[in-house]
């Protein structure tokens, strides 16, 4: 009997996945709300603020998509997911897109049947350790106890790094960032490892951030980006090009303050901005949206650079430099395909 119940549950989950595989755009429009999977709380990337409103770098992507599709940046149902639940939530159709600092890997893309639509943050795995331990390199961590968030790529990178350097460690698997923080501060583990951006965000919430250092070694490539289900290319295109619109907007100098003015009528000197903002051509129509889709997406929190500065940039407690996440013209890796 027990067995049949679980089979039933699995089947229902399977049915939901099957039903949701096609026409996500129509579903979202009919529902009037975008279901967006985010993390359970990582300050700067996705966390509710004092008034309970979700704020952050990943949250901004969700809001931009909601603005493009539904003309309402607040029409987003944020679904907090853990490292373990995020893929099931997306595959089962519980959420329409996942923007939860998720690393783009081969097996997730190919084997788990997801579609990464781009990269919104180029990251790498780092180590945080209390200053008083006097460690200056990750290679000195022989014998240390390491807290890891379970169900992430960091687990595998960590094992690879220590094996490659022929040093030992004790892993402590932990479910959420908040729990890891507690264990680390209580001294139950010497080191906390996750993406360097996450470490910076976590350290920013400490009472004395200065007592902890992030070691210089970055042991992996972690391109973080939003993703959708395989098999609904129209929906994938919308999320992909909304992200690209934010990136292109920074490159082209379109900001939250001037987007309304620039989008009023076509300016013959800036054809690419015209196409982006829908005053020229019919790119919005090709996506199945209206001409103003990108204008609305940019108007929410500004272009990529503005979102970055507002949520995780150097003026925020998290204090991340642009680094790899600068525009290609400034030596970074951000390079949006042309709007044409």
């Amino acid at each position: 009997m027990n067995k049949s119940v679980v089979f039933g549950a699995l089947t229902v989950a399977g049915l939901a996945a099957g039903a949701a595989a096609a026409g996500t755009l129509d579903d979202v429009k009919a529902r009037g709300k975008l279901n967006c999977g985010v993390s359970t709380g990582l300050v700067g990337f996705a966390a509710p603020d004092a008034s309970g409103e979700w704020k952050g770098f990943d949250v901004a992507v969700c809001r931009a998509v909601a603005a493009a599709v539904l003309d309402d940046p607040s029409a987003v149902e944020f679904v907090p997911t853990t490292g373990k639940t995020r893929f099931t939530a997306l595959a089962s159709g519980e959420i329409d897109m996942l923007a939860r600092n998720t690393t783009w890997t081969f097996s997730r893309d190919v084997d788990l049947k997801f579609e990464f639509v781009g990269v919104n943050y180029y990251d790498g795995q780092g180590f945080m350790i209390p200053k008083e331990l006097g460690v200056s390199s990750a290679k000195e961590l022989d014998g240390a106890t390491v807290c890891i968030q379970t169900g992430t790529t960091t687990e595998l990178n960590l094992a690879d790094f220590f094996r490659a350097n022929n040093i030992s460690y004790e892993p402590v698997p932990i479910e959420t960032n908040a729990e890891a923080q507690q264990q680390y501060l209580a001294g139950a583990c010497d080191v906390y490892t996750t993406d360097a951006s996450g470490l910076a965000a976590t350290r920013a919430t400490f009472e004395n951030p200065g007592d902890h250092i992030v070691l210089p070694e970055i042991v992996s490539k972690e391109p973080l980006g939003p993703l959708v289900r395989h098999g609904d290319n129209e929906w994938g295109d919308i999320v992909r090009w909304t992200l690209n619109a934010l990136i292109s907007a920074e490159e082209l100098g379109v900001t939250s303050t001037n987007v309304a003015g620039l989008g009023e009528k076509a300016n013959p000197e800036t054809p690419e901005i015209n196409r982006l903002l829908g005053t020229e051509g019919n790119l919005g129509e090709m996506l199945g949206l209206d001409a103003d889709w990108a204008k609305r997406a940019i108007a929410v929190e500004g272009n990529y650079g503005e979102i970055f500065e507002k949520n995780i940039g150097e003026s925020t407690p998290i204090g991340l430099a642009r680094g790899l996440n600068g525009q290609w013209k400034n030596g970074g890796l951000l390079y949006s395909p042309p709007f044409r």
Binding site: S4, L10, L15, K113, G143, G151, A159, D160, I174, A188
Partner: protein, 405 residues
Amino acid sequence: MATLTDPPQESFQLSMLLNDTRYRSYTFQFIALIVLIAIMAYLMSNLFANLRAAGLNISYGFLTDPAGYDINQRLIEYDSQSTHLRAALVGILNTLLVASMACVTATILGVIAGVLRLSKNWLVSKLMAFYVEAFRNVPVFIWILMIGTFVTLSGDAPKAFLGENPSREMFLGGFAFTNRGLYMPAVTAGAGAGIVVLVFLASIVAAFWWRSHVKKTLFKTGKLLPAWVFWPILIVPAILAQLVLGSPLGLIAPDTMANRFNIQGGLLLGKPLIALWLALSVYTGAFIAENVRAGIQAVNRGQTEAAASLGLRPGRIMNLVVLPQALRVIIPPLISQYLNITKNSSLAIAVGYADITATLGGITLNQTGRAIECVLLLMLFYLTISLLISAVMNVYNKSVSLKER
């Protein structure tokens, strides 16, 4: 002329399936079975159709791939290059370890609390009532989290014990309670250790033979042989063997100098294991206490009074008269408590304990994305282990149940 008619022939007619009470229940059972099978088949075919549509298939090939992750507590050899199957095996052993430890302590705790709750001492009985009500009315998950946090916050970080001038000395030179667990001296086996162990095993057999011999002689001849010889027989030969062979079995204390982060060597009872073990024990112990109380109260008062009038002391009345009869009532619900412990141990990941749910159902499931396969395997494991526990406990139940002739 009298005509004899044959008694009416029992002929089966189709309408009897509905109208005859002898067959009607079978008809309905049969229909229910068909419907159940049809529903199952429909759900299964749906599952497979959807999996096919999503381009997924059910395959257990991933079990032989390298797992790629490390596990902090392992009873067998394992590293990140071992297979997922081996990781699952490590998890299974960890589950069995914590479940068997918790079964033993929960039983001891439960029996003590159950007996004491019936004590005539007001304070003791109320204290036990408080224990039972407090622990069984809070979810076990909360207890696991609370005890885990308690251990984390109550112990020192191992750093306090490390280095040339540690701020904390190890207890008795070999025990250190830290927020990562309890470090203890480990047993080392030199040449000839096997002999010492063999001698000890032999003396266990000899000691128990002596005990039964004493009993037999007492019943047969009425002569009371010295029963205390049991202990010397048990201990002395092994100690002699140890001394003669030049101490092949030794203790090695944890090393506080070898590493700057952790105490090395020795035996570590990890924090996750301690937290999970304690939480499962105290939680299930409260339920077992109630079973024990029910069992004792099920024994007629007359039994106690009769034993008392024979001049037995209260302790002996409990051990010789009441408990053996109470066991008949206690054992069946005790089986389900053991099953509960085993199943509740799947909450292990809350404190970072690497049981089967955390390895196969957690990290492996996540890294391979093979959710259905992993969950089916998990179900199979818990089902098997639960049925095994039931089978063993039922055998024991038979042996203590009332022998009806």
